[in-house]
Symmetry: C2
Subunit: 163 residues, 2 copies
DNA sequence: TATTGTTATACTCTATAACTATA
DNA sequence: TATAGTTATAGAGTATAACAATA
């Protein structure tokens, strides 16, 4: 067995990450901050709770990310119309324009990547990707259940402080 | 247009990352540290320079990662036989055993993921994955060249301090 | 002079815990 | 009592710059 499917996918993941990283070096943007902007662009003004769920991080982390984005003028915290505890993180106009450009780049890259796959292979390819994604969702979900009940893995040398 | 290829791949990436994260919560291991161990397991004792190249981070970052791994007993710094400036980061015996288990898990997951793809689709699927990986390598390489010469992107609101 | 790794410093992401204001 | 967000604190990853020891 040479290079397996998993290694190929991992390489693609790391290449995509590199691609993102390159796109933002020299700016105040980072992957996490862009992730916030991406959610705002697609969902509209959102509470920090909603952002925390979308990014799967704690609310505290969102506070820090929003601080950074606000300092650079990408977003603004606005008062929530009906809940005075909450805040609506809102994209500024320039940032909205920038995100539209980014979405266009995203669509362009999608087309680009699809175009390098032989047309005859595409349906099978998409089926395969969906099957893999579905299986991974299943596996991650199983782990989350196990994790919430017992937790931990046997892959480490660390002392097991469960005792 | 519904969900495009790129979004599907990005979802798979994030699921794989989650999967890794779950596997190591509760231990002193992290994705970066495991990456170091993985390289050591596959390449044998390595200088920190070599590790820096493999992980595409600065040597300084490797110092910190190796410090953490050494403190937990995963690796040891040994003297390089022919270059007294260099150090050979070496897997400890227990860690070596652990990495063999991890490699087995990795192989198992590869098989698992392959098995959910319809057998008739597999050849086309692999061709597609390879084509996409190849195209991404090309794109990242182009960016690296452009980045080394001019640098920066037009995707940000930050002041351009090139002036 | 160039290379290997370190110390010093700093920024970002992330988490938990305690707290404030509001529901 | 529960929820939204913050302050306080801490650990990890990362980077640049200056420096030591060795090639």
């Amino acid at each position: 067995m040479r290079i397996g499917l998993l290694d190929r996918i991992l390489e693609i993941s790391s290449l995509l990450q590199l691609d993102m990283k390159h796109a933002f070096t020299g700016t105040s943007l980072t992957e996490s901050r862009v992730h916030v902007l991406w959610v705002l662009h697609h969902s509209g003004p959102s509470t920090q709770q909603a952002l925390a769920e979308a990014l799967k991080v704690t609310p505290r982390t969102i506070s820090a990310l929003v601080d950074g984005l606000a300092a650079s003028g990408y977003v603004q915290r606005r008062t929530h119309p009906s809940d005075r505890r909450a805040v609506l993180v809102t994209l500024m106009e320039d940032a909205e324009r920038m995100m539209s450009k980014m979405a266009a780049d995203h669509a362009r890259l999608t087309t680009d990547l699809e175009s390098v796959i032989d047309e005859a292979d595409r349906p099978a390819f998409i089926r395969g990707v969906d099957a893999v994604a579905h299986r991974l969702r299943q596996l991650v979900h199983e782990e989350e259940v196990r994790y919430d009940t017992v937790g931990g893995s046997d892959l480490s040398l660390d002392e097991d402080s469960t005792a």
